[in-house]
């Protein structure tokens, strides 16, 4: 626990390449390269001493010994670096002066030309050292970058082979650890609220990944070996990743975070695709089961109705038998409408996943419905207002016909016999509203909401006409499936009006229509 608190306190938020952390790194580098500096200088001095001894014994002249010293300085700069080479060059200049520039074995210089030679030697040695060191640095940097790019490429390649059916976190965490040689890695997926980690000190690292997500930034540890970065999908933070290990830095954590985010995104889109596919399959299955059920129900019902109506048509039944046959006929008919409406309800449920939307002419729809329900209207006059012509709605024709058909059926059942039914349609406030008005006893205020509930039937309606209690719930379901609504206004004198309103699609952009379709 203590360690965790310490770590959390020691984390530095890095808006840019951090200065504080870098200065620490710089200090550490001084300490680390300190021993190496001494070693370099010592090696340079030893080499210079050896050359001096040999050259002095062999009585080499100034230019020959100068060339040998120059060689040593360049080698030191190649092996150790510029600072070591500078120290070596100063020692070499001293030796040149003392052993090879007249007066020999004295610090003084007689000929001013030798001052020039000495200065030229020093300048040339320093310049060449500087140049070689710089080239070496550059080569090292390039090699580092190449390795980094290779590692990132490796990671991105292996992300492609992740099992999309499995959670991404547990798969990608060991992958990053392996490729980047990190001590430990943690990944926090905000959408799944799940953290995965591998290596030592996993808990702390997971906490760190979570913090990077919460603060939407980069975090770096005091030791500069622990880094955390937010994962973004588009502009939105979607999680965090934390790495601990040597040779890590901003140049590693940022691209690794991007790749991890891509992996998460990939998994998400796959999951979404999967869900849509599963929904589609469920719908197909349901439709298949429903069709099977329809057939299974309708077949025995057909046999029963044929037999009962056949008996009634036969005409040679006693009054009592006729009554019984009529009862069978009536109840089989009721069972049939119950089955039909249950199927309609289930079909709307199934199609909510994907309505088969098309442009539907309101007038055409009303004409179709009246044609289907003509017999049930028992000669009631139906007036359709002119305002319906030219109006179109965007919806599933089958479901809309079922819904409006239920309202017509309802009007036929409960309106005063012989009275007219008026149908109007208009566009108002972004909605196309179809209203069906009939005369008859009003619906009680307490029932006006409840009649749209499944299987609810108002008390006085029960006595008035047979019904299943499903019709109006189908209407409500159909309206809601289209993003619309249905309601009733009922008064003693004015009669009853059912309203069916759908969002008007006339001004909608085609892409908006498409988008609305499958999402529902």
């Amino acid at each position: 626990m203590e360690g965790k608190a310490e770590l959390a306190a020691g984390m530095v938020v890095q808006p840019n390449a951090g200065t504080k952390a870098n200065s620490r790194t710089g200090w550490r580098e001084v300490v680390r390269s300190g021993s190496s500096f001494l070693r370099g200088c010592l090696a340079g001095a030893t080499a210079v001493a050896a050359v001096t001894l040999v050259a002095f014994r062999l009585h080499l002249n100034l230019s020959a010994s100068g060339s040998l010293y120059f060689l040593i300085v360049v080698m030191v700069s190649v092996v150790w670096g510029f600072r070591e080479a500078s120290v070596t060059s100063l020692i070499a200049v001293s030796c040149l002066n003392y052993f090879f520039i007249p007066p020999i074995l004295a610090w003084s210089i007689a000929d001013p030309q030798n001052w020039v030679a000495l200065a030229a030697f020093e300048v040339a040695a320093l310049s060449v050292s500087r140049l070689s060191t710089r080239m070496q640095h550059q080569a090292k940097g390039e090699a580092r970058q190449r390795t980094q790019a290779e590692k990132l490429y490796e990671l991105s390649r292996r992300i492609l082979f992740l099992d999309r059916g499995q959670t991404t976190g547990p798969q990608i965490v060991p992958l990053i650890r392996e490729i980047f040689g990190a001590e430990s890695v943690a990944l926090f997926d905000a959408t799944l609220a799940r953290a995965d980690s591998t290596g030592s000190g996993a808990d702390e690292l997971e906490q760190l990944a979570r913090n990077a997500y919460l603060r939407d930034t980069t975090l770096v540890g005091d030791d500069a070996c622990t880094w955390a970065h937010v994962l973004r999908l588009g502009a939105k933070p979607a999680g965090g990743i934390a790495l601990r290990g040597p040779h890590l830095g901003r140049l590693t954590i940022v691209p690794v975070a991007s790749l991890a985010a891509i992996a998460l995104e990939r998994a998400r889109s796959f999951e979404k695709e999967n869900r849509a596919e599963a929904a589609r399959r469920t719908e197909q299955l349901r439709t298949a089961v429903l069709d099977g059920l329809a057939h299974a129900f309708k077949t025995p019902l057909t046999a029963i109705l044929t037999a009962s109506s056949g008996l009634l048509e036969g005409g040679d039944l006693s009054e009592g038998d006729r009554e019984l046959a009529a009862l069978i006929d009536e109840q089989a008919e009721h069972l049939n409408s119950l089955a039909t409406e249950l199927l309609q309800m289930a079909r709307i449920d199934a199609r909510e996943v994907s309505l088969h939307r098309e442009r539907v002419s309101v007038l055409g729809l009303i004409e179709d419905i009246l044609a289907v329900h003509r017999e049930r209207l028992h000669g009631r006059r139906v007036e359709v207002s002119e305002s319906a012509s030219g109006l179109e709605i965007d919806g599933d024709r089958g479901i809309l016909a079922t819904a409006l058909g239920q309202i017509v059926d309802n009007a036929a059942r409960y309106s005063t016999p012989g009275s007219a039914i008026t149908i109007t349609a208009e566009e108002n406030g972004g909605e196309v509203i179809v209203a069906m008005h009939n005369e008859g006893p009003p619906i009680r205020p307490s029932d006006r909401e409840r009649i749209f509930e499944r299987f609810y039937r108002a008390e006085e309606w029960r006595q008035r006409a047979p019904g299943t209690g499903l019709g109006l719930s189908i209407v409500k379901k159909a309206a809601e499936a289209h993003g619309g609504r249905t309601w009733v206004v009922s008064e003693e004198r004015a009669g009853t009006t059912f309203f069916f309103a759908l969002p008007s699609g006339t001004r909608r952009q085609p892409d908006a229509v498409a988008r609305q379709g499958p999402d529902r």
């Binding site: 057909t302 044929t306 109506s309 039909t340 079909r347 419905i369 009246l370 006059r381």
Partner: protein, 241 residues
Amino acid sequence: MPSHGKVLIVDDDSSIRRALRNTLHGMGFVVDDAATGEAALQLVREAPYDAVLLDISMPGMGGIRACREMRKSVPRLEILMLTVCDSEDDKVAALDAGADDYITKPFHVRELAARIRAAVRRSTGSQADPEAVIRIGNIELDPARRLVRKAGEPVHVTPKEFELLHYLMAHAGLPVTHVRLLRAVWGPEYGSELDYLRTFVRQLRKKLEEDPASPAYLLTDSHIGYRFAEGKTGPAGEVDR
């Protein structure tokens, strides 16, 4: 009891066959039955029938294929398709395959008997003269003089309206699919122009019907097409819904 005609029942369900056989027999029809399309095909090739009741969904070759094959073997056979409600596409497919009419399960025997009687009438009646005047209810259409009368009064109709009305009246009592109607009147390249049809039918209803909103002659077969009512039996649209 004199025979009202010879009928073949084709349904894979034995209880439906039993119920239909007994009921139709009681109503004076001579009845045969078959459980599959294949068996039915064999029967219609061997003996003449006035009408066939053909279930649309059966194992084996199925109702639609059986219908097509029967139409090929016996061109003038009257075929009545038995369909299940909510399968408008099946009904259209059956009519396109050559069925003359359809009836939705479950049905009432009275309705079925009326359809069978109409089919028997068509089957035993002589081939109509294409130029003969057609009279249904108070509507009269004279193809030779291109005249339409309502209750004796001439009604002005456009040439396309006349052709549409002529086609429907020539097939009175039978459902005519949108596609068939469009192709017969407008030409073979048509088929999906439902709006055309709606507009023309609406115009005709205004000219011929007492109450265009509740037509008595020009009936809509929802999702399928149109049907001109048969004079005597009254409106014969869909019954079971």
